[in-house]
């Protein structure tokens, strides 16, 4: 791996993390953690193997750990840390209502479905690579992809839930109530 190979991966990792977490700060934190992990683990990267797949595996594992940790800290029906649900409360720095809505609906998908959908659609990963990165059998990858696609379509088609400009702007007020 040389410097330019690694740096060339960063914009794609940032964009994927941005869509995955729905939050610009969380996304760059995730990429930063991934690069630091790569720094301590790079001797385990088999030279000549797919650098991008390896980085996405590291990133996936870090993300999955974060999700598990957040779920543990969140007892059933209990309170939720504002930072952990920030992604559910709209993405106020986004331009179009359409993009807002898509991101909001994405965040309503279970993490494991969102991961598969984004690795396939955003990153053009082969299904077998997605299976390796997420450590799941190919059959599970395909069923998660199916469920993600139909669920996302349902969410996007549900007109009552589309947040208009008004509710999006009010998102900060909702934070303390959640």
């Amino acid at each position: 791996m040389d410097r330019s190979d690694l740096i060339a991966q960063i914009p794609g990792m940032r964009r994927y993390a941005r869509v995955l977490t729905g939050n610009a700060w969380a996304a760059d934190d995730l990429v930063q953690d991934t690069l630091e992990r790569a720094c301590s683990k790079w001797r385990l990267w088999a030279v000549g193997s797919d650098l991008r797949a390896w980085l996405f595996t590291l990133m996936h594992n870090l993300f999955a750990n974060d999700v598990r940790r957040a779920l543990r800290r969140q007892p059933d029906g209990g309170t939720v840390d504002v930072d952990e649900v920030a992604h559910l409360l709209g993405a106020p720095d986004d331009a179009t209502a359409l993009g807002l809505d898509l991101q909001r609906c994405l965040m309503l998908l279970p993490e494991e479905q969102r991961v598969v959908l984004l690795l396939v659609c955003l990153e053009d990963m082969a299904y077998t690579d997605v299976a390796r990165i997420t450590g799941t059998p190919i059959g599970t990858v395909m069923s998660r992809l199916s469920r993600a696609r139909s669920r996302l379509q349902q969410l996007l088609d549900a007109p009552a839930m589309v947040p208009d400009e008004h509710t999006a702007n009010r998102a900060p007020n909702l934070r303390r109530l959640k």
């Binding site: 960063i10 964009r15 869509v19 630091e36 683990k41 790079w42 385990l44 595996t57 359409l98 199916s146």
Partner: protein, 272 residues
């Protein structure tokens, strides 16, 4: 969608069409059948539109300048690798020369330790570890009636028991995507303490084992705390092995190098 006619398209075919994961020939065939299937056409149109929308989401981030903190982190990774490569090249020289030269050249003791461990060559804890792993493979893999102490049916018990004996929470990697199912596992004595062996078998009866355990105090140098993937095939039991945080892993089995590498890669990713 799965109407039971002969030509009905499976979800998997439709996904692969939308995601461009079909070969040219498959693509032609799927499209021909799609022309007969209005329901599937709707599905494909919906998924394609969804895919396009997703791809435009935050596409602006791709063109943004990379934040300096991320550049710095990337630089650190590359820097660590370069230092290692330079040092590895020196490893080819005579040991004494490298020791004398290396000690003066690199004030950083961590790097000295790495060099010393490399030069010790055959006698490193990792080499000893993989030797024991291959012994264990040779002894237990031909067993017909008692290949393992605890069979896969008692998987939870097996994992709990071995985790306790090895003093580290263990996971059994899932090699089913490669056609290998867990047979079971056993506890073994190693030079530096307890070791565990998990055995897997494919439909053809080929067995591979994952041998793991702490490398002990001898492995307390930074160099032997963590190593790259290495391949050992001096005799008829090829193995890939690596050390992560002082814990050794060796995957052994009579497979060709690239197949074994893929399995080792899967194991490594799942235990990461």
């Amino acid at each position: 969608m799965n109407t039971p006619t002969l030509s009905s398209l499976s979800d998997t075919e439709l996904h692969a069409l939308v995601d461009g994961q079909l070969s040219a020939a498959e693509r032609v065939a799927v499209k021909a059948r799609l022309a007969q299937d209005p329901t599937a056409q709707d599905t494909v149109a919906g998924w394609t539109q969804q895919r396009d929308r997703l791809r435009s989401l935050h596409a602006d981030v791709l063109a943004e300048p990379i934040p300096s903190s991320l550049l710095a982190a990337a630089q650190q990774t590359v820097g660590a690798q370069l230092r290692w490569q330079q040092w590895s090249r020196l490893g080819g020289m005579a040991a004494g020369v490298v020791l004398a030269f290396g000690a003066g050249w690199l004030a950083n003791t961590a790097w000295q330790n790495q060099g010393v461990a490399r030069m010790a060559g055959q006698a490193t804890p990792a080499n000893e570890f993989v030797r024991q792993a291959r012994f264990a493979y040779t002894v237990y893999s031909p067993e017909v009636r008692h290949p393992v102490e605890v069979a896969a049916a008692e998987r939870d018990h097996l994992v709990q028991w071995l985790s306790k004996r090895l003093g580290k929470p263990l996971k059994v990697p899932n090699l089913a995507p490669h056609g290998f199912e867990l047979v079971g596992g056993r506890l073994l004595p190693g030079e530096t303490g307890a070791r565990a062996q998990f055995m897997f078998q494919n439909a053809g009866g080929t067995r591979v084992t994952l041998y793991l355990g702490a490398l002990g105090a001898k492995a307390a140098t930074p160099a032997s705390q963590e190593t790259a993937f290495r391949f050992a095939a001096d005799d008829d039991v090829p193995s890939f092995y690596w050390v992560d945080q002082g814990f050794g892993y060796a995957l052994s089995g009579p497979l060709d190098r690239s197949t074994l590498m893929q399995l080792a890669d899967t194991v490594y990713r799942q235990l990461l």
